[in-house]
Subunit: 142 residues, 2 copies
DNA sequence: CACTTATTGATAATCGTTCTCATATTGTGA
DNA sequence: TCACAATATGAGAACGATTATCAATAAGTG
């Protein structure tokens, strides 16, 4: 956790970005709370702790952290986006339960390699990937 | 194309769904135009041909066709959704060029199998998948 | 043809996200 | 330490794609 905060602060310093109170609050909350979260959710958590920041600042900060490669935005269906920090985590994908909302993370060497091969064949330079599987989780099919 | 129209009309008849002028227009336009399209785009094309339907009807009809498994909605980044008809087409994924917007379709047995295996391991019942690769196409990296 | 039921159009509402801009804070270098 | 330029913030307006509303209209059955 300390290493993570440090990595983030280094990123901010490298560019002409100021480490404000609000950004600290948002980053701390992100690292402390559950893995996948929405901006509104994070904002509400802070608010409940008496830490009031603007919704706009939450969005702006998350965007900043994405630019720095510290946070990833995941599309979980129609109009549902979640964020998660990816400090020290391997690139992974998600299975999304359409009933209970459960998220199952997965990663697979074989898929990664096939995917790499396919894009090379097309002369396609990969920047990011987005792979979701929608359906019902174990609990919800029983 | 005829077979496709027929398949769609069969789907409509099977349920208590009426084959209205507007729905015919939308389906014809979809089959006649390019593969991936947005609702607004389809609406505009019809309008330019003097065929006026409500935007709402375009959305409603596409939704209907998705239910019938005749159309698929593809998420191409943040707030960009496209539709495509999947009549007689294998399930495929897309590489999306972030510069020129090009779409490269791909499908791969190996990935499908790994994915199937992974979801089985989790006891996860798959309903749909969504796999996109973002980056730069051949033309845009040169 | 008549009648029931589904569908349409126009536009208001929604909702997550971004924009605006006056005010406040940060970090620098004197 | 202090002053100052550069950045960042908050509050709420604006946005834009999609969905909801509901009175008027059309489809299809028999
Ligand atoms: Mn995850
Ligand atoms: Mn396609
Ligand atoms: Zn579930
Ligand atoms: Zn391109």
């Amino acid at each position: 956790m300390l290493a993570e905060v440090e990595k983030i602060e280094n990123f901010l310093k490298q560019r002409q970005i100021k480490l404000t109170e609000e950004r600290k609050l948002i980053i701390d909350e992100m690292l402390a709370s559950q893995r996948h979260f929405g901006p509104e959710e994070l904002w509400e958590h802070l608010r409940q702790k008496g830490k009031r920041v603007s919704r706009a600042t939450v969005y702006r900060t998350l965007e900043l952290l994405i630019e720095g490669g510290l946070v990833k935005k995941v599309c979980l269906g129609e109009h549902c986006f979640r964020y998660e920090h990816i400090l020290g985590r391997k690139n992974h994908s998600h299975m999304v339960c359409l009933k209970c909302g459960a998220l199952i993370e997965f990663l697979d060497e074989a898929i990664d390699e096939r995917q790499k091969l396919l894009s090379q064949q097309q002369g396609f330079e990969v920047l990011s990937r987005c792979f979701q599987i929608f359906g019902y989780c174990k609990n919800c099919t029983q």
